[in-house]
Symmetry: C2
Subunit: 409 residues, 2 copies
């Protein structure tokens, strides 16, 4: 083939449910030249990452590190490392990503049970308790914030239930972490995983994870160091984990003092992950969560000011994304295309039962900013008008401005 | 915790077996801001990547794309997508990464058979044929270039054997691709995978892969689209692939015209992968392979000029890495530390039977350059002298210069 020109991408303001525009300081960190895989400065950077993500996850867990892959790799690493074929697993489902947990747990050979609520609701703790009592799961696997519905599942009660019935609690915090309160230790979460591409302001491709001591014990009992680097102290006991790449026992040995070779760390993504967390810690986690709250409220007020009806139980909405019904008679894909083409702004479409019915608009990470919210509302007003919808001139930006100026809560 | 300073890493010349210093043009591409996951410019960039890697892999395979993870993720994606529990698999082993293929195939539930040769040799085709005749494997899985020994396994005969006996041929080309001849279609390779961190001059974290039509047919027969995005046309037939994240049937649907949502593409790593391949295609694959050949010969002559004894069968050595015996009485780790501390140059240690016995020195990707070779030889001479070894002054750089100036083949 003939050579292609260098990469050149158009400017976009990514206001969908993620991935979102990356903080330029993260791009800058990613452009740092590599050092060797076991260079003292590399292992120091790995140590920084572990400490930073302990703060981000609000945990004292030693085992806090990165899985080299997208957020989905983190989810599968957690589940495949815990679950043995036949293990009972309970999945409370309130959106698409609950179904993903079921799907992954099934591929691990689990005996999967579910508690499901309609999209737009969260799962009541008493429903979870009833199911836990009946199923006696080894693992309860639940999503914290599900972008498919924008809902944020309360977890403190579920954590307490899991302790009472001696189940391990796995939480997918991909969409919520950094923009909504998340307290690994206080809530009794055993493994939580995330991605960089939502409230953390980075690109997809690295999955922060934290593992409690009791989950570490379960995983360590299944450790089989691979042939070629095994030594006499490596005596296998439990059932071998079904994946090598996502085997957390081996990944922990790579991040731990033994530094046992496993994969070749994705150094540029580690640099990105470090910078995402460094910026959050510099801002202060509580401040970052407040910031997401403020801009989420402004966007919510703005879309309502444009006359759009919000989807789901707003009391349980994640701060960083809102779903709105596409008005009758408006072509949702046409509006999205107009926003992208004429204004360079991306908002999200939807999956499953909401496909074609709602748009999803995010305010997260680097884009949890006043100018991003105001620009999006201004452009959305114009795109809606072009699509033939009745909209109050200035209704969106006016309502958002009221939130920023303290006139609305 | 208190905030950390921005990332700041020391300059290193990475002359080990990989990862190596990243081409600055790749770092620059990676610092490009994101567009949305299904933005027309993003899907166009995905199309570029597919076309570019067809050239890099020397294939006409439609299904040529990226797995989001390190090279090991690509290996596991290939094997877990092909292998069902109980399937006979044959692995010719000539170094550590052959053992890794065994390990991964075992975790997939394969009935694994091996043909093994001592480290430093390659596996004779007739040994492979005898084993294929006896085992009748569904898959033959073999490493092309194994950095643990520096050997490069000839593949054309093995490809022909696999066609004769109707076995699928999987090849791990991580260490060799881009720096040594690799001909997917001519050799009858069904799946080949790689990484960016060797001859491609990028960072670890993305795994280029190519899949032949007959391997696609095997994988498609096992496609189970996940709940939540499944539609009526998705009728499952074969045994579900044990991994969701590394399920090539779903990943192919994400890269294909259906654009079925799976993981969130690691966009920055895709930008990196595009630039790595773009630079290779711009240079011309044959020229890049010649360049690796030239600098590899210069390094080989240089280490011999320093009086070091080369490990393994040089006739089958990869062009991009050489292993040399650590001289008697010299502390190998001390020399490596001195190179790093005093000269900022990293060379590699070794695994398994070669641990503590050889150093591995790479000349690949961005570092397959005259100045990188000459600097490394100059510094190695000094470090050897400091460690008490007898070395001929200028013996390394002189021998390398002879290669560059045409005095030696």
């Amino acid at each position: 083939m003939t050579a292609l020109p260098p990469l050149s991408m158009p400017p976009r303001l990514l206001m969908g449910p993620g991935p979102i525009t990356v903080d330029p300081r993260v791009l800058q960190a990613m452009s740092t030249q590599l050092v060797g895989q076991f260079d003292p400065t590399m292992t120091a950077a790995m140590g920084d990452v572990m400490a930073l993500y302990r703060t981000v996850f609000a945990t004292a867990n030693d085992q806090t590190f990165l899985v080299d892959g997208t957020s989905r790799a983190g989810i599968e690493a957690a589940l495949v490392s815990l679950i043995e074929p036949g293990d009972p697993v309970l999945v409370p489902i309130f959106g698409r990503f609950g179904h993903l947990l079921v799907e992954i747990a099934e591929r691990c050979g689990a005996d999967v049970h579910t508690v499901e609520v309609p999209w737009g609701d969260v799962v009541p703790a008493e429903d979870v308790e009833r199911a836990v009592r009946a199923v006696r799961p080894k693992v309860v696997a639940v999503v914290h914030g599900d972008t498919s519905t924008t809902m944020c599942q309360p977890l403190a009660d579920i954590g307490a239930i899991c302790r009472t019935y001696d189940a391990l609690l796995y939480v997918d915090a991909t969409a919520s972490l950094g923009g909504n309160a998340f307290r690994t230790d206080d809530w009794g979460v055993d493994i939580a995983t995330a991605g960089l591409q939502k409230c953390l302001g980075g690109p997809s491709g690295s999955a922060p994870i934290t593992v409690s001591p009791r989950a570490v014990a379960v995983i360590e009992a299944r450790k089989h160091v691979e042939a070629g680097i095994r030594d006499d102290g490596d005596t296998a006991t439990g059932l071998r984990i079904a994946s090598n790449y996502l085997d957390l026992a081996q990944v922990m040995d790579y991040w731990g003092p033994r530094r046992l070779n496993h994969h070749t760390e994705a150094t540029s993504m580690l640099y990105a992950a470090r910078e995402c967390a460094r910026l959050l810690v510099e801002e202060g986690l509580a401040n970052a969560i407040d910031r997401h709250g403020l801009h989420g409220r402004a966007m919510l007020a703005g879309v309502e000011g444009l006359g759009l009806r919000v989807f789901g139980d707003v009391a349980h909405k994640m701060s960083n994304v809102v779903a709105v019904h596409i008005p009758d008679g408006v072509d949702g894909d046409w509006v999205r295309a107009a926003l992208l083409t004429d204004y360079g702004i991306e908002i999200g479409t939807s999956f499953g039962p909401l496909h074609g019915k709602v748009w999803r608009i995010g305010t997260m990470g680097y884009n949890a900013r006043r100018d991003a919210v105001m620009l999006t509302l201004a452009a959305l007003e114009q795109a809606l008008r072009s699509a033939g919808a009745q909209v109050l001139a200035g209704g969106g930006v006016g309502a958002a401005r009221e939130v920023y100026e303290g006139g609305r809560p």
